[in-house]
């Protein structure tokens, strides 16, 4: 897992090491749990990859790692625009978004501050994945 490096102009760089992190940090615990769940889901037949990120960390596992930028932009755009659409209709917080493409599907959601996108083949059971990833 990659952790953010914080720099200060007059001080020595402070590297936040995963081992030194407070294990009871709730936010971090949620991220770790989600990361574990996604790693399990990734083993499913038909699941082609996922992106998990919060304000400090990111875990990415994609079938096409060379397209990481495209996937990240897509993921970000879906979450942002969906929130906008939901607000326009006054529907409250977005729980999940299913994007059905011509070739693959994507399931996106936000859990706490963690933004998740799971990519899968079209015939994959997205409802089951949603159930497993939801808290």
């Amino acid at each position: 897992m990659v952790k953010k490096t914080s720099n200060q102009e007059t001080a020595t760089a402070v590297i936040v090491d995963e081992d030194e992190l407070s294990p009871d940090s709730e936010e971090d615990q949620v991220f770790t749990d989600l990361s574990n769940k996604l790693a399990e889901i990734r083993k499913d037949k038909g699941v082609t990859g996922y992106i998990l990120r919060n304000t400090t960390s990111a875990t990415i596992d994609l079938k096409e790692p060379e397209k990481i930028v495209e996937y990240a932009l897509f993921s970000s755009q879906v979450l942002d625009s969906s929130r906008e659409i939901s607000n326009l209709f006054e529907l409250g917080d977005v729980e999940s978004i299913l994007i059905e493409g011509k070739e693959t599907n994507a399931l996106c959601m936000t859990i706490d501050e963690n933004k998740i996108s799971i990519f899968m083949e079209k015939d994959t059971d997205h409802a089951d994945i949603l159930k497993r990833i939801s808290p």
Partner: protein, 292 residues
Amino acid sequence: MSNEVYTLALKSTLQEIQNACPDVTSNFIFKDGKILAQDKNTNEENATQIIAAYDTIAERTDIIGGLETMTIQSAEGKVNITSINDLHLTTVSSNEADEKYVNTLTRILIPIVIKLVEQIQPASTDNETITIDQTETEDDTTEEIVDENEETVDETTEDTENYQPYETEEETATTELDEETEQTETEIDYEPLLPEPPVTQLIIENLKGFRVPADTVRVDTEVIAQWNELYSDKKINEVEVEALNGKTTRCKVKPIKKSKDSGKGIIKMPEKIQLTLETAAGELVTVKPVVE
């Protein structure tokens, strides 16, 4: 039928959907970034912003092969945007809505209405399509006899097997056409939307010969097999051919019989059709099946 009537038909359908299912709180249809039809509850300004948001997502969907459907599940309701051909149907429903019922209403009823409206709409929308005049068939065949060559003999042999006098063919064609027209006018086709006809690029080869119908092209058997596979329960009798110059025509189609021509990506075309398309042998054309 004008666009206004088309829009009115869609608008009425959207309103009826909402009447039938009060849990649908808003629905509208858009095309090319513009609202085509909306129900009474839909705020136009909101709809415009939603279209913009949808478009920004659609721009990023190359990695998933393009956007077909988007479903946003929120705490207090659901938004679904589905593509139907080049139209996009947006449905907003509460969480209490019966998803299957709403889907039945929207994903089946709307395509039926669109299909029905398009069928009723006069062929004037296809202004560029040139229809071959069947009455000129005989004259052209006579001219082609002069150009007989080796290929002509082969083709003639093939065609002689299936030869029927032209008058009979014309009568049959006319009768079929009348029947089809009547069916279109009286019956509503409740079948689901068919997939978009695939466009195939083929090279023109001359089709000459005694008794070669001037309104029929011959296409690679493999290509026809693909069409038949795609539209299993529909018989492909006609194709729309488009030349590189943009000229199009609709004509009958039959498979190429000679096995040596199979798989070469060619279309055998009578001179008359070549003249109509202002094209010639050796040039490329795009061909797509006419599914009715």
